[in-house]
Amino acid sequence: MAVDEPAPVPAQLDVRVQAADFDVGAEIARLHAGRTDVGAVASFVGLCRDEGGTLAALELEHYPGMAEMEIRRVAEAALARWPMLTAVTAIHRHGRIPPGDRIVLVAAASPHRTAAFEAAEFLMDFLKTRAPFWKKEHRLDGTEGAWVAAKDTDDAKADRWR
């Protein structure tokens, strides 16, 4: 064993499920605060989208407890797959979210960009297919909309990583 090798710093893992909004800039700053060995942070922000001009809000239902645990399991899988990652943050909101507002943030930090880019996409692909959240539409005319249907293309995106 080389005695001069510095002990590896464990990756920082931050998973939050919350009703409140989050500050993207502050979260990215936290991912590399106090470190000079991080060369790349890749992030993804998912927003509430209104395609037809009829959406008042999405109601995001979640399974308390399991939602956090499942996102944590996905994040741990990302750290195992890209061991050079220095930090991962995943924040998912629940409750009523109007169009244009933020729903989800994933961000990954690494010495180099490739691991950060790939891990961010991996996190989103598995978060979408495994984290227990469900979206219901509320319409501007006051009527209750439909539950958003899961897409086969999301399963296919997650399957690419297997």
């Binding site: 399974y63 998912h92 984290a131 469900w134 979206k135 249907a149 999301d154």
Partner: protein
């Protein structure tokens, strides 16, 4: 056994959770879905597309052919649409 329901499974049944005594012939998650579907019209509607239903045992995803074992909490819900 405590059962918890989410999204349209919860709405169709009209309950978010309940405690049930499960008969001995219910061994797997799929058996549980089939047994629940026979408990009345609301349950039949909730579980009419049985293959779509996702199951979590003690807050971990399991396939429908997985044995329930000594599960404390079983969750039944539609495919997830977060993110």
């Amino acid at each position: 056994m405590k059962l918890v329901y989410f999204a349209w499974v919860r709405e169709r049944i009209g309950l978010s959770e309940e405690t049930v005594d499960v008969p001995d012939h219910v061994v797997t998650a799929g058996d549980l879905i089939r047994w629940l579907a026979g408990r009345g019209d609301a349950y039949a509607h909730a579980f009419e597309a049985a293959a779509q239903i996702r199951v979590a045992v003690d807050q971990e995803h399991v396939p429908q052919d997985a044995p329930l074992g000594p599960a404390r909490e079983v969750a039944l819900f539609p495919p997830m649409t977060g993110g």
